[in-house]
Structures are given as structure tokens and as C-alpha cells.
């Protein structure tokens, strides 16, 4: 085995002082990343599978001359608070085609097929829909023909759909047509993925960074001892890959364990079949490859400084200041969103939202540095001075742990403009659940990222903190400085970012606030409260590590 590979594996097994906490934080954060990525992939595939089973109900492009059936769909009925669809189906070539998915035979005129939920209520619904002569429906549609176990649908065989009923023609039961509601959801999911992408990437970076920070001095020492840059990078890659692969496995297992719970989310018309959102072999492969690869790349980027200038790390040399030109990036996203607007094609809008989120990620450290300078200049006590100088010294490191949280402010600001009102419309329901789901994902990412960051920062500051404690500086001063250095970027950068998110939302909507009622304000308040709570909890995660690592 390559000696550097062997050494890398040895460092994973015996991480040294403080290394176990760093490795655990990196491993835990990677597991969360893997869980989220699996959820996003499996969830999107679930939408596709759901749509495939019922896509024929939305078909309307077939040539009447060659169509196998025509239909008329009325989905405006309601039963016990659920939406009930009533579909009249005229099968045009009953002897030539197989039954639709979920049917034991092709519906003949006069026959009525229902979903299990409707079958349970047949005695009352049969009268309501003019089938009071039928003791029971002709057949119950199986899982293969339903969008959800909770779906309420009645499919009635009819002789013909007249022109005044606006028939939709079907060319195949397996037509590759997206159900309109599922398509809407898929577009929403694409926006969600873009919005959650940077918090997740931040978390990947954080997970890699926290372990890399521990390695910095060790690797710098190896460099000084004569190891080549490639050898040092290879060693780090091995170490990070092992941790990330273990995290990815745990994330996948975690998703599988949680999938029955995830299936309970009533998005897109009801709960989900667990089979729809079960991970497929290639999803497993993608997660097992992508998460470690991203993690390794992230770790190697972070180690560039060590591998190039080991002395810089050993001696704690000053880093270069950040350019004000970064601000320019803030303009691109809103301008693109305003230009394409609500009627624009989906892809440019996704790119625009991506640009805006990227701008936040890039401008964040510069803003942190600016705030740090102001704090250090105005400080009259040790806590503010220490916190301010820490922000100025390495604004990227200071921003990294809270990047996901700040980006969540962007997400909240953006969607606060589009919050649905309390209307009893399924699209609004989907949006409400979607927003709640998106914010849950973002906050899960934020929690993992902020906690991992707090542990990393605590380990990073252990040696000088130990010296300060020995010299008589109380631990409380050191801890307060660490807390201030963690909270300030959130408040000073996070709050303006919420405004920037709202600005991007307004640019997209053409300046109109689509939100009705107080839901937008509640959302923003929730963001602020949750954000501050997360920083406090994360600080609590870092405090014992700092206390232990800086102890005598």
C-alpha cells in the first residue's frame, strides 16, 4: 500500500488529541448531507413514479383517430375535506388494449372503479354521484393506478365523451405525460434544490473543513519534513474519503429507516407509497460516489494553503484581505430575475436564483470582515476586541460555520414574498407543505453545519485559549468572544441577506407581493428566532469542546 494511504488510514483510526471530536463532527455532517441528497433524489423520482401511474389522466395531445380512449376529468369535488376526482372514461378500442394501470379489466360503459378510500365510503358516495343502485363499485383500483394511498377517485366507464364535455384523448395508458400537479411540484422541487444547494455545499465544506483544520498543522509539519504537495493532498484525500464514505453509508441507512415517516408527508395529493420514495441502486451509487468526492474536493481546496505554504500555517501568517469587487455579484441574480420575470422559462430562473445564492456565499466573508474591522476599532473590552479581530483575521473561516444559516435567510426572504394564503386550494396546500419541507431541510442543514463549525472553531482556538486561561483570562471571556464571533456574522450579515432574498423574490414577481395575510411575517420571524436558537445550540456544542481542549 502507498505509505501516504497507509498513513491516512492510520490518522482515521487514531486521530490524535481533539481529532476524534473533529472526525465525529465531519462524519455526522457528511451523514446529514447524504441523507438530504438521498431525500432530494428519491423525492424527485417519487414524483416521477407517481406521475407515471396517473399521467394518462392528464393526456390531451393524442390524435382522436388513433386514440385508445377519451376522458373527461372533474377534480373539483370534495369529500371529508379531501379532493375527489371523478373521471369519465370511454375506451375506444376495448378489445385491442390492455386495461389501464391498477384495473383488473378495461372499464366498460356503466362500470365504476374507485380508489380504496372511496370504496370505504361507497354507501354515501354512491348516492351522491348517481350510483345508488350499485351496492358496491365494479372494482377497486390497485396501488398501480393511484397517485397516493389516500387518493379519492371515481373512474366511470362511459360509451362516449361528447364534444361539449371537451374530451381529452389518450394514446397509451403509459403515456410519458406529466400529471399537471406533479409537474408543478417538480418545478417547485427544482427551485427548492437550487435554494438548498448552497446550504448543502456549505455543509459539505464545513464537514470537510472541520477535520481539515485539525490536519493543518500535522500536514504542515509533514510538508516541512519533506513530504511533497501531492503526497500531503493524497493523505488528506484518503482520510476525508474514508470519513465521508462512512457518513454517506449512515446517511443512506438513515434515509431508508426514515422513509416510512417521510412517506407520511401529504405533498401532491396525499401520503406516499413507501415504494415510490425507496432508494434505487443507482441512487445509492450516486450518493456513495458524489458525497465523498464533493467532500474530498472541498477538503483539498481548504488545504491549499497548507500544501502550498506550510510555513504560513505554522506561523499563523496574515491572510490577504477580501476584495470589495465581490459586491458586484449581488447585482446579477436580481437583474436576471427581473428580466425573465414570472413568465420566463424555468431554467434561466433557476440559474438566476442560483446566482443570487452564490452571491450571498461569496459576499458573506467580505461583509464579515467589514463588520469585524468596525468591532475591533470600537472595542473597549476584551470580548468585542477578540471577536472583532477573529472576524477580520479569517472572515472565510468565520463565515463558513454560519454560511448555511445566512443562506437560509436568503431562502426565507425569497419565499416570504410568495407565501400562499389560507385558501382551500390543493396548489396552495402543496406550496405550504413544500415551503415547510424546504425550510426543514435548510434548517437541518444549518443545524449540522453550525454545530460542526462550532466544534471546528473550538478546536482551532484550543492552544491560544489554553495559554490565555493559564495567564488568568477567565474561560467565560474566551467563551463569550467565541459566541460573539459566531453570532455577529449571523445578525450583521444574515439579516441584510433576508432583505436581499426578499428583493430577489420581488424582482421575480415584478414587484408584487403575492403573500396574503401574516404568513410572510410569521415566516420571517420564525427564521430569526430559529436562526438565533440554532447559533445558541451550536455554541453549546462548541463550548464543551473548547473547555476540554483548552483545559490545563
Amino acid at each position: 500500500m502507498n505509505p501516504m494511504t497507509e498513513l491516512g488510514l492510520r490518522f482515521v483510526r487514531r486521530p490524535g488529541p481533539g481529532g476524534r471530536a473533529a472526525n465525529l463532527a465531519a462524519f455526522g455532517a457528511t451523514a446529514v448531507v447524504a441523507l438530504l441528497v438521498t431525500f432530494l433524489i428519491a423525492g424527485s423520482l417519487g414524483l416521477s413514479q407517481r406521475s407515471e401511474r396517473i399521467g394518462w389522466r392528464s393526456a390531451d395531445k393524442a390524435d382522436p383517430a388513433t386514440a385508445i380512449g377519451s376522458l373527461n376529468l372533474d377534480d373539483d369535488q370534495r369529500v371529508d375535506g379531501h379532493r375527489l376526482s371523478v373521471l369519465d372514461l370511454a375506451v375506444l378500442r376495448p378489445n385491442e388494449v390492455a386495461p389501464p394501470p391498477g384495473f383488473d379489466h378495461t372499464p366498460k360503459p356503466g362500470e365504476v372503479f374507485v380508489s380504496p378510500e372511496v370504496a370505504k365510503r361507497w354507501s354515501s358516495l354512491s348516492k351522491q354521484y348517481g350510483h345508488d343502485g350499485m351496492d358496491k363499485p365494479t372494482g377497486v383500483i390497485s396501488d398501480k393506478g393511484l397517485s397516493s394511498p389516500e387518493e379519492f377517485i371515481i373512474i366511470r366507464g362511459v360509451q362516449t365523451i361528447t364534444a361539449d364535455q371537451h374530451p381529452q384523448y389518450v394514446s397509451s395508458w403509459n403515456e410519458n405525460v406529466w400529471d399537471s400537479r406533479m409537474l408543478g411540484l417538480l418545478i417547485a422541487v427544482a427551485f427548492g434544490i437550487i435554494l438548498v444547494l448552497f446550504p448543502i455545499l456549505s455543509l459539505v465544506g464545513q464537514a470537510a473543513g472541520v477535520a481539515a483544520k485539525r490536519r493543518e498543522h500535522r500536514l504542515a509539519a509533514l510538508r516541512l519534513a519533506g513530504a511533497t504537495r501531492t503526497q500531503v493532498l493524497w493523505l488528506s484525500a484518503v482520510e476525508q474519503a474514508v470519513l465521508a464514505a462512512a457518513g454517506a453509508v449512515v446517511g443512506l441507512v438513515g434515509y431508508t429507516v426514515l422513509s416510512p415517516l417521510i412517506a407520511q408527508i401529504p405533498l401532491g395529493g396525499g401520503r406516499w407509497y413507501v415504494g415510490d420514495i425507496t432508494v434505487q441502486w443507482w441512487t445509492v451509487l450516486v450518493v456513495l460516489v458524489a458525497v465523498p468526492v464533493l467532500s474530498v474536493i472541498s477538503a483539498l481546496i481548504g488545504l491549499g494553503r497548507v500544501s502550498i505554504t506550510p510555513l504560513g500555517v505554522v506561523r499563523g501568517q496574515t491572510r490577504k484581505g477580501l476584495s470589495v469587487l465581490r459586491i458586484g455579484l449581488l447585482v446579477i441574480g436580481p437583474v436576471m430575475l427581473a428580466y425573465y420575470g414570472m413568465r420566463g422559462a424555468v431554467l434561466p430562473l433557476l440559474i438566476a436564483v442560483g446566482f443570487a445564492a452564490l452571491a450571498v456565499r461569496v459576499v458573506g466573508p467580505w461583509a464579515v470582515q467589514l463588520v469585524g474591522k468596525a468591532m475591533a476599532k470600537a472595542a473597549n473590552g476584551p470580548v468585542t476586541l477578540l471577536a472583532g479581530r477573529r472576524l477580520v483575521d479569517d472572515p472565510k473561516a468565520a463565515f463558513r460555520p454560519v454560511a448555511a444559516l445566512v443562506l437560509s435567510g436568503f431562502v426565507t426572504g425569497f419565499i416570504s414574498v410568495f407565501m400562499p394564503s389560507g385558501e382551500d386550494d390543493p396548489t396552495f396546500n402543496d406550496m405550504r407543505i413544500g415551503v415547510a419541507l424546504l425550510l426543514s431541510l435548510v434548517f437541518l442543514t444549518v443545524a449540522a453545519s453550525t454545530a460542526a463549525g462550532a466544534v471546528g472553531t473550538a478546536l482551532d482556538q484550543a492552544a491560544p485559549a489554553r495559554a490565555l486561561r493559564r495567564s488568568g483570562v477567565p474561560l467565560s471571556v474566551i467563551e463569550r468572544a467565541a459566541r460573539v464571533a459566531a453570532v455577529v456574522p449571523v445578525v450583521a450579515v444574515g439579516l441584510p441577506v433576508v432583505g436581499f432574498g426578499a428583493l430577489c423574490g420581488l424582482a421575480l414577481s415584478g414587484g408584487k407581493i403575492a403573500t396574503e395575510g401574516s404568513s410572510g411575517v410569521l415566516l420571517l420571524l420564525g427564521q430569526v428566532v430559529a436562526g438565533l436558537a440554532l447559533v445558541t445550540v451550536a455554541g453549546a456544542a462548541g463550548a464543551p469542546v473548547l473547555r476540554k481542549a483548552s483545559a490545563n
Binding site: 477573529r390 483575521d393 495559554a467 486561561r469 488568568g472 483570562v473 471571556v477
Partner: protein, 233 residues
């Protein structure tokens, strides 16, 4: 540089000091006393209790048995918070690798203990700059540790140890990371500046050249003062 042993009052003393780390003996009954303006070198093989003795005398660790006195105050019976305040106000520390805060310029590194003690920034920075000037770093007050040489950084650490006018300065291998010439300058500066102010200095060192610059040396072997090697100059 050699110094005459002072005939002043004992400022720091330890009596019958015992310290165990589980089954490992750190100190096995050490008696030691240091006078104001006196520099004491603590020598001996690695892992034999030198640093433990320094930590116990400085109130960083408490002994399992024995007493530590700073002037008329019994240190080992103070609680952690009181010992922290005592270290900040009455003791100074110099570590092997300076342990300055990388993000703070030299003057703020030196001013920090004063600011922790409640001095205004202006006053603390003023005193820090004056002390830095005394150790020959008037021109480097705005530089950060990464921008200083090893010897300069250690002089900043000495200024930080002296700025609070301590009664005792503890130094743990203060020249361990420096070359011989720079190490000589640093130890001369430390002992000279501290004893000039009437402070005692306790230096843990392996280096005979460092010990030669102190008034006397105490040899610790297996957690005890070694009579055979403990020649008093």
C-alpha cells in the same frame, strides 16, 4: 549576564508539594522558595516534574498535598476563580511557543490581560506600548505575531507577562523554540526586565546556558529536588 542573588523577602514558596496523575508521580514532596528579584531555574530530565512544579506554584494545578504561598496568601486553598484572578493580577507567564493570539497585533496582545481586568482600551494600549518599547519593540506594536520573527514574538510574550507588574513571572522553556543567540537575548531580557522591577522569575529549562543566567537552579528528578545536582549558585 550574571545576576547577584538578592537578599530580599520570599515572595513565592511551596512546602511538601505532592502531585499525582493517577498512578504516575508528578511531584513527591518538593520544597521551594523564591525571593523578590530572584531568578530560579528549574532543571531536570523530561517527564520528571519540572512543568508540574511550575503549574502548581502558579496555581494552574492544585497539589494533592502541601502548601503554596504567594506572599501572605495561600494559593492552593483558593478556588479556581480566585486563582484565575490571582494569576492575572499578580503573576505573568511566558510559554515556549509564545502562544500569542495570531489575530491580534502586538500591542493588543499585550493589552488584553489589562482589558480583561477592566482597564479602558486607551489606557491598556498605552501601557502595552510602553512595555513593548521597554523590550525593544516600539516599532513593531502594530504587527501581528505571524509578521514577527521568533525572537520578536517571544519579546512580545515577555511584554505581555510584565505589563501587569506581576510579583512572579513563570516561563516554561522560553527559549526552546529559538536559536542560541536569540535565546540568550530573550532570557537576558526576561530575567533583567523582571528582576529590575522586583519580580521573581521561575524558569523551567533544559538549557544550561539559560540556567546560568539565573541566580540559582533547582534540579527535579523523579518528582523530588535532587541534592546531588541541585547546586545553588
Amino acid at each position: 549576564m550574571n545576576f547577584q542573588s538578592p537578599q530580599s523577602q520570599v515572595v513565592l514558596s511551596g512546602h511538601g508539594l505532592v502531585k499525582h496523575y493517577g498512578s504516575v508521580v508528578g511531584l513527591a514532596g518538593v520544597d521551594v522558595a523564591v525571593r523578590s528579584g530572584e531568578a530560579l531555574a528549574v532543571m531536570g530530565p523530561s517527564g520528571n516534574g519540572k512543568t508540574t512544579l511550575l503549574h502548581v506554584l502558579a496555581g494552574i494545578l492544585t497539589p494533592d498535598q502541601g502548601e503554596v504561598w504567594l506572599g501572605s496568601e495561600r494559593v492552593d486553598q483558593l478556588n479556581d476563580a480566585a486563582r484565575t484572578v490571582l494569576r492575572r493580577r499578580r503573576l505573568g507567564f511566558v510559554f515556549q511557543d509564545n502562544q500569542l493570539l495570531a489575530e491580534l497585533p502586538a500591542d493588543e496582545n499585550v493589552a488584553l490581560p489589562l482589558m480583561v481586568d477592566g482597564l479602558s482600551r486607551r489606557e491598556a494600549i498605552g501601557r502595552a506600548r510602553a512595555t513593548l518599547a521597554q523590550v525593544g519593540l516600539a516599532a513593531e506594536v502594530g504587527r501581528r505575531p505571524g509578521e514577527l520573527s521568533g525572537g520578536q514574538a517571544q519579546r512580545v510574550a515577555i511584554a505581555r507577562a510584565l505589563v501587569g507588574e506581576p510579583q512572579v513571572v513563570f516561563a516554561d522553556e522560553p527559549t526552546g523554540a529559538l536559536d542560541a543567540a536569540t535565546g540568550s537575548q530573550v532570557i537576558d531580557l526576561l530575567v533583567g526586565a523582571a528582576t529590575y522591577r522586583g519580580a521573581a522569575v521561575v524558569v523551567v529549562t533544559h538549557d544550561n546556558a539559560v540556567a546560568a543566567r539565573c541566580h540559582r537552579a533547582l534540579h527535579i528528578v523523579d518528582g523530588r529536588v535532587s541534592d546531588a545536582m541541585g547546586a545553588v549558585r
